[in-house]
Each structure stands twice: as structure tokens, then as C-alpha cells.
Symmetry: C2
Subunit: 247 residues, 2 copies
DNA sequence: CAGTGGTCTAGACCACTGA
DNA sequence: CAGTGGTCTAGACCACTGA
């Protein structure tokens, strides 16, 4: 028998289709594993693998003794691709460039709790720069990296690559927090982005951890009219994501 | 033997810890399943379940004949909880209210391609409203719902609930696209949010599909200083998400 | 207390692909 | 062509919990 598609995938996509098409509605009960074994002429492990995957994806809920049910449409839990700006811009056939504005090794500011937590009693590397697409300023970046968490950072030469790309490729992380807000361009930001003061800008702040240890924190300020954050979402593993830079 | 924790979970978290702690680095090879069977004194299915989960989470890569390897830290693929505003605000112990500004059934605008695609040759329901936290305007919402995809929408009474909450709970979706940008408050927006004209605002646009059929599209404009979109991220299933309304 | 899912075993055959 | 993972079987015991 040719295994064009694994049987557990067929079972999975059958129910996926029935649920998403509305033929099976939230609260509806699925057959028990024993019945599905007979229907698909397979072992229980195969049925279980298919239904476990659907449960992980949040499409169904499984309760012992009670059975398996179509889940309520969940709160929109979605996959967002937080951009590696360089890759995003190049994917749009624009030239990408990163210009370093400042690079220094320093102690955390005494009155800045966030910086002190990031430093963890040691030093910080400050890396400020400008992201450009097709030569036009797109975003200002202010980044701090913990020397304690990333000792190599002191000596790394990034060349034309932004430090974010290097970090993404070399430093494993376990947790991150991203905060997105809208701000007005200050005088400094406006000058760097070559926009009028007061231009609405998208501010993205991100902090990254490995376990409990802080790795880096970054503030990126995008020219609002030139940049949108776009995320495309699907259930579970079907998610497709992306970002977009406006023309 | 008491099954405090399933064995496949122990195997999984062992490698998770070694990878995330940096003890195992990207490109490092994991033992083959046969060896792990011996090490953990279990069957191959148990080992396979653990490693398959890690592969799904993106922490490892599996290649036939070649073996299993620690994956390069991935582009930041993350889970974002797009807020059910009502729930978010109540979770912060603020009172939530939704005020309907307009509700009508209408044809799509002839020159608006998006509206025509959403309507699919039939009618649209327009639902405009204002989200309030502790009585203060937080966001203006402009929503369109396809009558073709959601016939019930014509007769539903939402009461004090926003239509988004009702849709989330009743209509299964398969895909969504969210676009986040920064804009200046127009005169109308400024009046509704009781802010000065030109205040930076966060604009969230979302379109939702079931398979290829469009369900709804919505534009939410948040008072920038009062609202941040926050997302907390972890690898795979460990993701914790949330949003925050500034005090 | 009995039905249901969670986990596990000890095999098996096979597809894929790199040495 | 041989090593590795992908899939599957036909059982088994058990934890949980709702009828």
C-alpha cells in the first residue's frame, strides 16, 4: 500500500474540515476512539495521534469519561512573526541597510530599574542605529544587550547587519515580550526619519529572556505611514505570517 | 509506579532544558531514537512522541538517515493574543462598556473592492461603536460583517456586548489577517476619544475568513497613550499571551 | 463504577537520503 | 545500501470523572 498521506493526517484533516466548515459545531461530540478505529480500520494509537494533534491545535477538547468535543472558537490566539527587518525588506526586493549611530559599553543608569535588571550587576552594550529601506530611513533602533548573558557581544563585528539579526541567529531565547504602541515623532526621531515633528510613529519595544536571565531589550520607532505590522493567522500549524513595508 | 509526569514529557523537557540553557547548541546532534530507548528504558514510540513534539515546537530538526539536530534559533515566530477587548478590560478590574454608534444593513460601496469581496454579492451589516474602560473612551470600532457568511447577524441582539465578542464565540474562522499601524486622530476620531486632533493612535485592522469565504473586517482605533498591544512569547506550547491597557 | 482518553510496549515495515 | 526517522499495529494498564 502506498502511503500517499499518513492515515493520522487524513483523520485529522477530515475533522478539521468538518469543524471549520461548520458541519460540526462547537459542543458537538466526536465519536469515541474505539468507533474511529473501526471506521478508519486502524489502531487506536493512530486515532489518538490525530485527535491529540487537533486538541493541541485547539480545535477540539478532550475530557476523560466524557468524550471529545468540538471546542468553542478560541480567543484569537495567533502566530505573529516579529520581523527580522533585514530579511523582511530584502524579501520585498528593496535594498536594506543598517547604519550604526552609537555603540558603547557602559554601566546601567542608576535610576533605571529596567537597565539594572538587564545588566544583572555587570555591564551593558548600547547599540543605536537606523534601518533603511532603499536608502530611506524606516526605523530608529535603541538597543541594550546584557554582557552577562552575551559576553561575545563586546567583540562582535556586525558589519552592515543589524545587531538584532546577529542575536536572533546566535542566542537562544525562551521568552520575549513585545509591546506595540503609537507615539508622536520627537525632534530627534523626526530628524533621523526625515519626517515632520509630530508624525505618528509605531513604537515596538521588546525584551527577551533565556529562562530568567535577561538578554536584550530594544526600542524601534517606525515612521507610521511607511510601516505596518502585518500578521496572518491560521489555526495551529497552518499559520502563515509576515510583515509589510508600505510603498 | 506512580505516573507523576508522563515519560514522554520528561524526555521532552530534558532536551528543552539542554537546548535553551545553551548546553546543547544549534547544529548539535541528538542521540538516535534507539539510544534514547536504552537511556530512558522505554519503547521507541515514547521517544518518538517526545522528539516529534520538540520538532513541532521548532526546537529541533529531524532528517531521515542524517539524524536529529538542535535547530537554529528561529525567526521570532510567536503567539499573539489578539484581544477580546471586553475580556481584557474586565481582567484588569476595570468596568467595560460598549456603546453602539451605528448599525445598518447596506450594500457594499461600488468603488470599494474590499467591501464587495466581503459581501460576496449580498449585503453587509455595518456595526460602529465605542469601547469604554471605566467610562473613558478607549477605542473607536468600525466593523462590517458579511450577511452571506453570517446570516444570523441581521437579527442578533448584542446588548452591551461588542459584536466582536459575539462573533468570536459563535463563528468559527480559519484565517485572519491583522494589520497594525500608527495614525493621527482625525477630527471625528478625536471627538469620539475626547482627545486633541492629531493625537497618535494605534490602528488595528483585521480581516477574517472561513476557508476562502470572508466573514468580517474591522478597524479599531485606540487612543495611543492609553493602550498598548502587549504580547508575551515562548517556544511552542509554552506561550503566554496578553494585552495591557495603560493606567 | 464503568466509559473514556492518556500512556506505554515490543514489535514491524517502509521511505528517505547521506555516507 | 545501510542508518535513521515516520508510521502503524494489537495489545495493555491506568487515571479520571460523569452517569
Amino acid at each position: 500500500m502506498v502511503m500517499r498521506q499518513p492515515l493520522h493526517n487524513r483523520i485529522r484533516s477530515d475533522f478539521e474540515a468538518w469543524i471549520l466548515s461548520g458541519r460540526m459545531k462547537p459542543g458537538d461530540r466526536l465519536p469515541i476512539e474505539q468507533d474511529l478505529m473501526l471506521e478508519y480500520r486502524c489502531s487506536r494509537m493512530t486515532v489518538n495521534k490525530a485527535l491529540s494533534a487537533l486538541a493541541t491545535a485547539g480545535l477540539i477538547e478532550r475530557r476523560k469519561r466524557a468524550g471529545t468535543f468540538v471546542a468553542r472558537p478560541r480567543t484569537h490566539s495567533m502566530v505573529l512573526d516579529v520581523p527580522d527587518l533585514a530579511a523582511e525588506i530584502r524579501a520585498r526586493n528593496q535594498t536594506y541597510a543598517y547604519k550604526t549611530l552609537a555603540r558603547s559599553v557602559r554601566v546601567p543608569h542608576r535610576d533605571n530599574e529596567e537597565e539594572r535588571l538587564l545588566a544583572g550587576g555587570r555591564l551593558l552594550v548600547q547599540l543605536d542605529g537606523l534601518h533603511l529601506a532603499d536608502g530611506q530611513p524606516l526605523a530608529v533602533e535603541y538597543r541594550l544587550v546584557s554582557v552577562r548573558a552575551v559576553p561575545e557581544i563586546v567583540d562582535v563585528t556586525f558589519g552592515d547587519n543589524p545587531p538584532g539579526t546577529w542575536l536572533l541567529q546566535h542566542i537562544p531565547w525562551t521568552e520575549a515580550e513585545t509591546r506595540i504602541s503609537a507615539v508622536s515623532a520627537t525632534a530627534t526621531i523626526a530628524r533621523l526619519l526625515t519626517q515632520p515633528v509630530g508624525t505618528p510613529c509605531l513604537k515596538i519595544e521588546r525584551r527577551t529572556w533565556r529562562r530568567t536571565e535577561r538578554i536584550t531589550q530594544v526600542q524601534q520607532i517606525f515612521h507610521g505611514a511607511a510601516y505596518d505590522l502585518v500578521a496572518r493567522f491560521g489555526h495551529g500549524t497552518t499559520a502563515i505570517t509576515g510583515t509589510s513595508v508600505n510603498p
